[in-house]
């Protein structure tokens, strides 16, 4: 099955390491994937604050374009790494399916531009695709340099599992943990896997937003993790990029590497670190020395 890749606005700037590593990992696993042509912004959370109908229209255009790109009668599975885009598109998908009035309005608007949305397009997260479609057997087989001894705390964030739990348990998700275990890493269980990182509040109201991210970093560090694995560009940015500011503001300094789970996958697969965007991280991720070889990211 071929997938349609929806990057979203973040993946080509702050989330660049995510796009790079995801594409490298998918290529290594021979998963055919092609970027959606002329995709538009999903609206994220900010757009919904201004106009909800238009927000659904944004997502509907993307889904209509995906259906067109996939070709009539073919499945149109969109792989959406950014959690906010994932939720925005998925929410539109659910709401349009459950509310005929809304559906009619949106379809009418799309029709003005000659587009059609049938509901065929499915919104998938890379975690979903890797665990449920590809399977851990294929992933394990691709591991060349197991992350033995690396303690990983998996951080899912909010919008992957709430309010729709389409591919993982809502309260105790495990897809990322399953992947990390397949990579040979040691998974650190912690109770804040899905607690909010503060979202856009870290930029707009830093006293509030950064405090939320700080609580996560502090607890993960306390539980003895070497790295926090994330699946959302805003989560990764919030957890990583404000650490020096947090160290000044709050009780105890934090210095925890925060990587995208796809970067850790790429490391375990033995892929070229330049292709995984590892150098773009503020806090370097150190591969366990026991494995040997040149894994230490600069």
């Amino acid at each position: 099955m071929s997938y349609i890749y929806f990057p979203g606005c973040s993946l080509q700037s702050t989330g660049k390491p995510y796009e790079e590593s995801m594409q490298a990992v998918f290529a290594a696993l021979n998963i055919p994937i092609k970027e959606l042509d002329d995709w538009n912004c999903c609206g994220a959370t900010a757009y919904m604050s201004i106009s909800e109908l238009k927000s659904f229209a944004l997502s509907a255009r993307n889904m209509a374009l995906a259906e067109r790109q996939a070709g009539a009668g073919n499945s149109a599975d969109m792989v959406v790494p950014c959690a906010a885009c994932y939720l925005g598109l998925n929410k539109a998908h659910h709401y349009l399916a459950e509310n005929p009035d809304l559906n009619a309005k949106i379809k009418g608007a799309l029709g003005v531009a000659g587009l059609n949305y049938s509901g065929r397009a499915r919104i998938r997260h890379p975690l979903d695709v890797l665990v449920n479609d590809i399977g851990m057997k294929a992933v394990t087989e691709r591991v060349k340099q197991p992350l033995k001894g690396m303690k990983v705390a998996c951080y899912y964030g909010c919008q992957l599992v709430r309010p729709y739990a389409d591919f993982d348990d809502q309260h105790e998700p495990t897809t990322m943990d399953v992947i990390m275990k397949a990579l040979g890493a040691e998974v650190v269980d912690w109770p804040l896997k899905t607690r909010c990182c503060g979202g856009s509040l870290t930029g707009t109201v830093p006293d509030v937003g950064q405090r939320l991210s700080y609580i996560l970093l502090r607890e993960a560090k306390k539980r003895g993790c070497d790295v926090i694995a994330t699946a959302c560009p805003l989560c990764q940015f919030n957890l990583e990029c404000y650490q020096s500011e947090m160290s000044r503001k709050y009780e105890a300094p934090v210095n925890v590497p925060v990587a995208y789970f796809t970067q850790l996958m790429g490391m375990a697969f033995g892929l070229d670190h330049k292709k995984l965007g590892l150098k773009r991280l503020f806090v370097p991720v150190h591969a366990p020395a026991a494995v040997g070889g040149s894994h230490v990211a600069a």
Binding site: D38, A109, V112, Q159
Partner: protein, 210 residues
């Protein structure tokens, strides 16, 4: 105003907005809010509730009772990070996050929100960028945000900006889709529509003195 004059005022029925609850409840699935038993699970789950002036539970009570001005001018709806914890755990399946969005939209439409408040400004800039180009450019978005709310902060964030640029994570090119007119025509078709059905007095509100 002294605290003893501003707090604990009696609220008269004529000050309330009797149709406010129905307006909010008109969003898809919004009628669940009438089933609220005020258990407080939403506020208990919400990681931001202790930063808010009214907890999410209080907001629902205020919506039901018609305290429109208080709800729309509170900081609560703006501090909601859309984490959906409340929505998932509410025993009456009230879509609190969607209600917060509805309140945000009404507040913007009626012009009742703290001026220069960063979150509302961010939403506005984001909106404009997407309407114009079909995408948002993170760097330019944040730049305009700081310029409009707190230019000083931009200087403070310059360090972070530099670090991001050095790591190749600062997109400087303004992002845009190719078929902008296609998107514009779709959005224009929905220009006059809103999901909230307005009832009763739709005159703009006075901002409640805080």
């Amino acid at each position: 105003m002294n605290r003893w004059e501003g707090w604990h005022k009696v609220r008269y029925e004529s000050e309330l907005a009797p149709h406010f609850a129905a307006e909010i409840a008109s969003i898809p699935g919004g009628d669940h809010l009438y089933s609220c038993i005020q258990c407080g699970t939403c506020s208990g789950m919400c990681p931001l509730s202790h930063h808010m002036d009214f907890t999410p539970r209080q907001i629902i009570a205020m919506i039901r009772a018609g305290f429109k001005a208080d709800v729309l001018s509170s900081y609560t709806t703006w501090l909601c990070a859309s984490c959906y914890s409340c929505t998932v755990e509410c025993p009456k399946e009230i879509k609190l996050t969607d209600i917060m969005y509805a309140a945000k939209r009404l507040a913007i439409r009626e012009g009742v929100y703290p001026k220069r408040f960063p979150i509302a400004v961010l939403a506005d800039e984001f909106f404009k960028s997407v309407e114009r180009n079909g995408r948002s450019s993170e760097t330019w978005l944040l730049t305009r945000l700081y310029l409009r709310t707190n230019p000083f902060k931009m200087l403070k964030q310059a360090g972070l900006g530099m670090r991001l640029w050095l790591h190749g994570r600062l997109g400087l090119k303004p992002e845009s889709i190719e078929r902008k007119s296609e998107l514009r025509s779709i959005l224009k078709a929905l220009e006059k529509e809103h999901m909230i059905k307005r009832k009763g007095n739709t005159a703009p509100l006075k901002e409640v003195a805080s």
